[in-house]
């Protein structure tokens, strides 16, 4: 069982890396970009513990370690 976790800075928290990448994209001539936010992607392989239990445990994992909820938000996708 695989799960995907996306951790991104909250809206309102300055993302200097995103800003620099945005500027570089503009410099490359890739127009039409409104905003860039840099985050983290984690792929987690779980034992077969059921989707509901998996979500519960991963939510705890995010709150306690994988994300810092002072500055970051997270999204969990549980796949097949």
């Amino acid at each position: 069982m695989k799960a995907k976790i996306y951790v991104t800075l909250k809206r309102g928290v300055l993302d200097p890396q995103g800003k620099a990448i945005h500027a570089s994209l503009t410099h490359l001539g890739i127009d039409g970009v409104e905003d860039v936010r840099v985050g983290k992607f984690m792929e987690i392989t779980l034992k077969e513990i059921g989707r509901e239990e998996a979500r519960r445990r991963l939510d705890e994992a995010c709150r306690r370690l994988l994300a810092n909820t002072v500055i970051e938000e997270y999204r969990i996708e549980i796949g097949g």
Binding site: L9, V13, L14, D15, P16, Q17, A20, K40, L65, L66, N68, V70, I71
Partner: protein, 233 residues
């Protein structure tokens, strides 16, 4: 009087802190490996700078789970003085012993330079006798020192006199030009509500002797020794 210098995998300012305490200040100091679960017998704790666990995930994110951090929490709750320097500050934030978080410097550069700090309160063991408005010259060396907290948290820090140091110019003026990393309200160091836990990005342990360019860092450790002397008296 015995001070503990915590050592995690990736700590690299532990020897500087040990040297400052033992050889410059002249107090007993010992390294404490992060797997230890007790700080019994120690009077003060230094969480030194470095790159614990290679800064994996986030600075301090892994170190906050080391066994010794449980002991640090109990030590702090008992009123013992704790100073977290640079990565040590990041660990205290991650552990929730201090509010807020660090993000990368707004310049996206690693900054290694002397900065000036304006002292904001003398109510911590490390700033006792350093009046508000005193300007100290202390170096920084970090990539993630851009202090962030939401507005209610920042207001709370100000109201409760928890802002211990702000980046300033040599005259002590807190200006945006003297903010090296984009920190909210130029914050360089904060303490907990009780005042006994201090976290700061600049490195006082690196400037305890004039030969190093400044001896201003010594004042924090001298203050700590005086505070501990009063406490045991």
């Amino acid at each position: 009087m015995k001070t503990a210098v915590l050592v995690f995998p990736g700590s690299n300012c532990d020897h500087d802190a040990y040297h400052a305490l033992k050889h410059v200040i002249g107090v007993d100091a010992a390294f404490v490996w992060h797997k230890e679960s007790s700080l019994d017998g120690f009077d003060a704790v230094v969480i030194p700078g470095g790159f614990t666990y290679g800064d994996y995930l986030r600075s301090g994110a892994m170190a906050k789970l080391s066994p010794v951090m449980g002991a640090v929490r109990r030590f702090a709750e008992g009123g013992g003085p704790v100073i977290g320097i640079c990565n040590g500050f990041q660990i205290l934030l991650e552990a929730g012993l201090l509010p807020g978080a660090m993000i990368v410097n707004d310049s996206l550069r690693f900054i290694c330079d002397y900065v000036h700090l304006r002292a904001g309160t003398d109510r911590t063991p490390f700033t006792r006798g350093i009046p508000e408005g005193t300007v100290l010259k202390i170096p920084v060396a970090h990539y993630q020192g851009n202090y962030y907290a939401d507005e209610p948290t920042l207001s709370g820090l100000e109201e409760r006199r928890q802002v211990v140091f702000r980046y300033c110019d040599p005259e002590g003026e807190v200006t945006s030009a003297s903010n090296p990393n984009g920190s909210a309200r130029n914050i360089a160091g904060i303490c907990n509500e009780a005042g006994n836990v201090l976290g700061m990005m600049p490195h006082p342990e690196r400037c305890t002797e004039e030969v190093l360019g400044s001896a201003d860092g010594r004042r924090l450790f001298d203050a700590m020794v005086a505070w501990l002397g009063e406490r045991t008296a």
